[in-house]
């Protein structure tokens, strides 16, 4: 991973905006799916696919690729959008999201799209899979890193903490978890439904190194990933504080957008907001 410079950061921010647009376009056509979570993770997925990960879209299963496990499978539309922009498949294929026969299933399936690395949707089971890959890789002295993106709501599932305990005691330093701390879940705010705080202390007590960042600041995220790579005694969790729906003012902070897509009219409005950077640019160049 190279160091960031200002020009690169700006490029990544612009890419994140394009990826958000592709996400909204695919959700409009899909007619179902999740909106808030994927928008909130657009910056991190952009940073992962366009700067952090050692990967090759033309050789998706190359042996020493970094592994990215998505535990909260429902935000996969943002991963699909980032992968399409990275060159894993044509952008036009995003229009098949959630359609019959598509590689882009409503929740990710590795067998249909091997570059996804795992199959997920039922919450709480990604960290264990990531830990298994990290454990196996360490047995064989392999150098690649394993990343696991998780939601905050899924931390309520017991399987997560079994995996956190296992990863901590086995000092899986090649494993980095990234938590989308957006504070929302289906039934409301996480702290009202089933509180997670003190979250940092929970992971520290499970022998994890914890870094908290602004999940929309790409430089902070890249720095945190670099720091995780320098920790040799334990796994690292990056708690990324994000705004659900980030980038579209009507959706930001509104948990009712967790599990629904925009309709056509809403979608057009949201795309306009993204293309004009929230009104900062007058002409849309449509």
């Amino acid at each position: 991973m190279h160091l960031l410079h200002e020009k690169k950061i700006k490029e990544l921010e612009e890419k994140a905006n394009e990826i958000r647009q592709s996400l909204i376009e695919s959700l409009i056509v899909a007619g179902s799916g999740h909106t808030a979570g994927p928008l909130g993770m657009a910056d991190i997925f952009t940073a992962l696919y366009f700067h952090v990960l050692h990967h090759d879209p033309k050789n998706p299963l190359m042996e020493d690729r970094d592994r990215l496990i998505l535990s909260n499978g429902h935000i996969v539309p943002i991963r699909y959008a980032a992968m399409a922009h990275a060159g894993y498949f044509p952008l036009s294929e995003l229009k098949t999201l959630r359609k019959f026969g598509s590689k882009l299933q409503g929740h990710p399936e590795r067998v249909r799209l091997p570059a996804l690395e795992s199959t997920s949707g039922p919450l709480g089971s990604g960290l264990g899979q990531a830990a298994g890959i990290a454990y196996g890789a360490r047995m064989d002295g392999r150098r690649f890193r394993v990343y696991c993106v998780m939601s905050d709501g899924e931390l309520q599932a017991g399987n997560t903490w079994e995996s956190a305990m296992f990863s901590g005691v086995n000092e899986l330093h090649n494993l980095t978890a990234i938590i989308d701390r957006n504070n929302i879940q289906i039934n409301g705010m996480t702290e009202d439904v089933m509180p997670l705080e003190p979250l940092r202390a929970k992971f520290e007590s499970f022998n994890w190194h914890v870094i908290e960042i602004n999940g929309h600041n790409i430089e902070e995220f890249v720095d945190a990933v670099g720091e995780a790579g320098a920790i040799y005694e334990r796994p690292t969790v990056i708690i990324a504080h994000t705004i659900p729906g980030k980038g579209i003012s009507d959706i930001e902070f509104d948990y009712s957008w967790h599990g629904k897509p925009p309709n056509k009219e809403e979608g057009e409005r949201f795309l306009k907001e993204l293309r004009t950077l929230g009104g900062k640019i007058k002409s849309e160049h449509e």
Partner: protein
Amino acid sequence: MLHKEAHLVENIFNTKSLKAEPTRDGYGEGVVEAGKQNKDVVVLCADLAESTRSHWFKETYPERYIELGVAEQNMATVASGLANYGKIPFIASYAAFNPGRNNEQIRTTISLNEVPVKICGMHAGVSVGPDGATHQALEDIALMRVQPNMVVLVPADKEEAKRATIAAATNGKPTYLRFAREKTPVFTTEKTPFEIGKAEVLWEEESPEVAIIGSGPVLYNALLAAHELSEEGIRSIVVNNHTIKPIDEKTIISVAQKARAVVTVEEHQVAGGAGSAVTEVLAQHYPVPIEFVGVKDRFGQSGEPDELIAHYGMDKSAIIEAVKKVIARK
């Protein structure tokens, strides 16, 4: 009479002189052998190393033994990751928890994800004995056989358990293996044919009136029943149906055509188990009267293995009774 090509032990009907060993020992020895053959074989265990016999692997290959603690859900997900990376993980715990407790993790991260994890369910059936109903898995075959991509193996004795374990290590598929705690007669030999997906005829008489299709250690009771029935003049075929999935349709249809009546025998709920799998084949291809020997919609309880097998109707006399009943229905 005994099928010569089955190469069963010689003194098979002299129960007292037969060697008795638990099928879990077959797993324990088999997984060490599989580990010797392939360095990618790893064993995961959830705080039950000795009773699952995983400790033999742990002693032989400590660097390939992974302890999970009492966390069967995590055991399934970590194994999924290991298999995804390229290892061949065997995950061992009591069947009541593995695949009982971690069923969803197996479904999503192993079966749907198509990774070759070997799920080893120990202490299956009422023959666990004194531990009681909580630890007597009677629904594990049903849980596993309804999952697409899953292979389901139920070895009948320690020798077959060992060979099933070794075979599972190389089949490249998600696989469930069912083992028992109690010592049971070892009646197959190294020469007995064993191939995943291929049922074996162990006993066959001319013009049979019934085919008894059994899975697991209670298959020995089926052989005892066939022997006694023969002395009464009732002729039968006994089939070892060790692979519940993919089931050997050809052999099952063939014995049903010969006998025109079937009794299935298993130490499991009759709903959804090995007998149901046989029935699904015959209902479609060659319908005949069928009786089921197994547990009939009840939980187990504490007791000695033999008395529980008799109480829940899976001993020799229960099989003989089922045979007479099914013949009367022809």
